[in-house]
């Protein structure tokens, strides 16, 4: 068991080494086999671990002493419990499918770049596994930084394009801001608890009173880290730009796994958050605000990947809402279902982009239904899932969160409902503009339209099945007693929090009414969206008024540019041209010039006349002789 635990992250790491070091010589097919194969092995091992955990054989597995300073002990050890084993399955399972998909999607790349791509992906999987398996905050932080690095590398994968490198830098820098919060929280925890091991921190925190300043501060700083990694207000703007990376990367990193790291971290430290109600309020409000804001932006985007990106931000907002109201299981459930359907949506979008020859503007698509039958069906299923139509997976998870929000405060529910209606609207706008109506692209593009190869449709089919049935893992008690398998499975992780929170139980009748309202409204919005956009015609009319604001993403990027980027650039310019060029360079060059000048003068002393040298020597000797007479 212990060996398997350590092999799970190590195998993708070896894959990374083979592909990374063998980059110049490795062939395309072997790079793909090494890349996908290592994740597949990891997945199989994860399944074994999962079964073990299910039978109650989880625990902490010690590797070696990592840091040991005075009383502070940080071992390098992995924790395999219900939460981490669930994430292991998501990461390696979806990771494997996306590796297979990538093998076909990236076929145009040169062999060296192809191997580089798989090396990055494997390194990402390794870091992500480290993140979820670590048994203390330091290991988690290492993984946390690792996934940030891989995200940077993969967004800037086509680094010859300047915009893409800028997007990569933006993602990395925004993540760094969050990471600073995370790091400060770690230091504070060391000061407060003297340890960073999950088990000890949580047991020590559990005996503390609720709502202390230290706990609130620590949790707020951790949450700052989460807003960076999981793209929440105010640090969400990197995620839409991160779509510069290859589409499978968007699916794996920027939809299914990495961006859920923040949710994992908060779910993992649920004890701390339950004891800090102030932070919980902040988390819920920020999550909800992000969900609404991103959903409104998604309504007006025309880039197929941008719509999905904002949708991801919005769904992550829901997960944070769930965490904020204490519905931890619901959030983790949504992470899982979201990983299925959002990965599917991105891969479907990748398939569409692939078919349309790198066309990403949905205004130039349409009518793809008959050309891409498999992509169409799977995409439709994913749309139904994210919109929350029963019995697709999104319905169960999103409603679990919304019901949790209602138990907390009805306002959160109603605002959240508006967001989910917008979700339904923009997803079906996307669907209708892409797959329905007539093709609006060029004739050449129409001629080339084709269904993607099997390596790409195979992951789509698997993910479509998961998106459809995945929700039955967490059927609410409303429909069947004791059917919520996920809640029972995860209950040990959230045990302490459950006892500290006052139990909320909605009467079943209220729940039925709420669900009924939700479903009816969602169906109405879907119908509206399809009716409005099924026969979309390209127009040259500029958006006006509110639509323009939405199309320009509330001008948040411009705002950040004006208040942060530009002043920073000005400051850098000042340092560069004033302080550096005339200040520091002046001093350094001045010293050089002085030495040059004086040596040119002193050189004249060297006349070559031996007599002159001797005279100087005698004069100097006399000089020192006289001096020592006086200085006694």
């Amino acid at each position: 068991m212990s060996k398997i635990v350590f092999l799970v992250p190590l195998i993708p790491f070896f894959g990374f080494l083979i592909n990374g070091l063998g980059r110049p010589v490795i062939s395309k097919s072997s790079a793909a086999i090494v890349g996908s194969g290592s994740v597949l092995i990891s997945f199989i091992l994860s399944v074994i671990l999962f079964v073990n955990v299910k039978n109650g054989h989880g625990g902490v597995f010690n590797g070696f002493d990592f840091i040991s300073v005075g009383k502070l002990q940080i071992p390098f050890s992995f924790q395999v419990d219900q939460l981490s084993s669930l994430f292991l399955l998501i990461i390696t399972g979806i990771g494997f499918l996306i590796h297979v998909y990538s093998a076909a999607y990236m076929h145009e790349e040169k062999p060296a770049d192809y191997a580089r791509y798989f090396a990055y992906l494997n390194l990402f999987v390794f870091s992500m596994l480290l993140l979820v398996m670590g048994s203390n905050f330091v290991i988690m932080f290492m993984g946390w930084e690792g996934v940030g690095l891989c995200s940077y590398l993969l967004i800037g994968y086509w680094f010859k394009n300047n915009d893409y490198t800028n997007a990569a830098k933006k993602a990395f820098i925004m993540n760094r801001i969050g990471d600073l919060g995370f790091l400060l929280a770690l230091f504070w925890m060391i000061q407060q608890f003297g340890t960073l091991n999950f088990a000890e921190v949580f047991s020590k925190a559990g005996s503390m009173p609720s709502n202390t300043a230290a706990l609130t501060g620590i949790t707020l700083l951790l949450f700052l880290g989460a807003t960076g990694k999981s793209a929440q207000i105010p640090l969400y703007t990197w995620l839409p730009d991160a779509m510069a990376g290859p589409t499978p990367v968007s699916a794996l990193i920027h939809a299914a796994t990495m961006v859920t790291a923040g949710i994992y971290m908060i779910a993992r430290s649920n004890v701390l958050y339950t004891l800090a109600p102030v932070t919980q309020g902040v988390v819920a409000v920020i999550g909800l605000a992000t969900a609404i804001l991103a959903a409104t932006i998604a309504l007006k985007q025309n880039d197929i990947k941008k719509v999905l990106a904002y949708s991801t931000v919005s769904q992550l907002g829901y997960m944070f809402l769930g965490l904020g109201v204490g519905a931890y299981t619901a959030s983790v459930f949504h992470v899982m279902t979201h990983a299925f359907f959002k990965a599917l949506l991105f891969l479907g979008a990748g398939s569409v982009i692939h078919a349309c020859h790198h066309e990403q503007d949905i205004r130039n698509m349409g009518g793809l239904k008959k050309y891409l039958p498999i992509t169409h069906i799977t995409f439709l299923l994913a749309c139904l899932a994210i919109a929350g139509i029963p019995p697709f997976s999104g319905f169960f998870s999103k409603d679990a969160i919304l019901i949790g929000a209602y138990e907390h405060s009805p306002i959160l529910f109603w605002v959240g409902l508006i967001g989910s209606l917008m979700t339904a609207f923009y997803m079906f706008r996307l669907y209708a503009m892409t797959f329905l109506g007539k093709f609006r692209g060029t004739h050449e593009q129409e001629h080339h339209l084709h269904e993607s190869p099997f390596a790409m449709t195979f992951p789509l089919i698997i993910l479509a099945v998961l998106s459809t049935v995945g929700g039955f893992l967490g059927v609410p008690e409303l429909f069947a007693k004791d059917a919520n398998w996920l809640e029972k499975f995860l209950s040990p992780v959230f045990e302490v929090s459950e006892t500290k929170m006052p139990p909320h139980e909605l009467p079943h009748s209220t729940e039925y009414v709420l669900l009924g309202i939700t479903i009816v409204l969602v169906v109405v919005f879907i119908g509206w969206a399809i009716a409005k956009f099924r026969n979309y015609q390209k127009t040259e009319v500029e958006e006006t008024g509110f639509g323009k604001i939405l199309q320009n993403k509330w001008y948040v990027d411009e705002f950040y540019n004006a208040i942060i980027v530009k002043p920073l650039n000005k400051f850098s310019w000042f340092l560069d041209s004033i302080v550096e060029k005339s200040g520091i360079d002046g001093i350094v060059n001045g010293i050089g010039k002085f030495v040059n000048y004086s040596s040119r003068q002193l050189r004249l002393l060297q006349s070559g006349q031996v007599g002159a040298y001797i005279l100087m020597m005698v004069v100097a000797a006399l000089f020192f002789f006289i001096i020592q007479l006086f200085v006694k």
């Binding site: 060297q606 070559g608 006349q609 031996v610 007599g611 001797i614 005698v618």
Partner: protein, 111 residues
């Protein structure tokens, strides 16, 4: 004899040496002047060590004070001899190269 006489003699010898080195152009004579300076120092060393011994032997007639000064002179003579051999060799090479022992022709160190 007073120590002052020795000091005057040695100073005179040393000054002659210095002036010789500074003013003469013949390398061999410069070399001899250097020897003169060395021997001025030797003379002074011997004189001082003798004076030192005389003062010390008044108190204790078995004293060995001042012997190190005498020995030091031998060292200087040995080193000077070695130096002479090297120096003369240099002068011979110099003569072979520029057919002169005039140091003013030796200004090619400049470049």
């Amino acid at each position: 004899m007073s120590i002052n006489n020795y000091i005057f003699l040695a100073s005179a010898l040393f000054s002659i040496g210095v002036i010789g080195v500074l003013t003469r152009r013949n390398a061999i004579i410069i070399f001899m002047c250097v020897e003169l300076m060395l021997n001025a120092v030797n003379l002074l060393l011997v004189a001082f060590s003798k004076m030192h011994y005389l003062t010390a032997s008044v108190i204790d007639h078995t004293t060995k004070a001042g012997t190190d000064g005498q020995i030091f002179v031998f060292f200087i003579m040995v080193v000077a001899a070695a130096e002479v051999s090297v120096g003369l060799a240099i002068i011979v090479m110099m003569y072979r190269n520029i057919h002169s022992v005039d140091v003013n022709f030796l200004n090619r160190l400049k470049h």
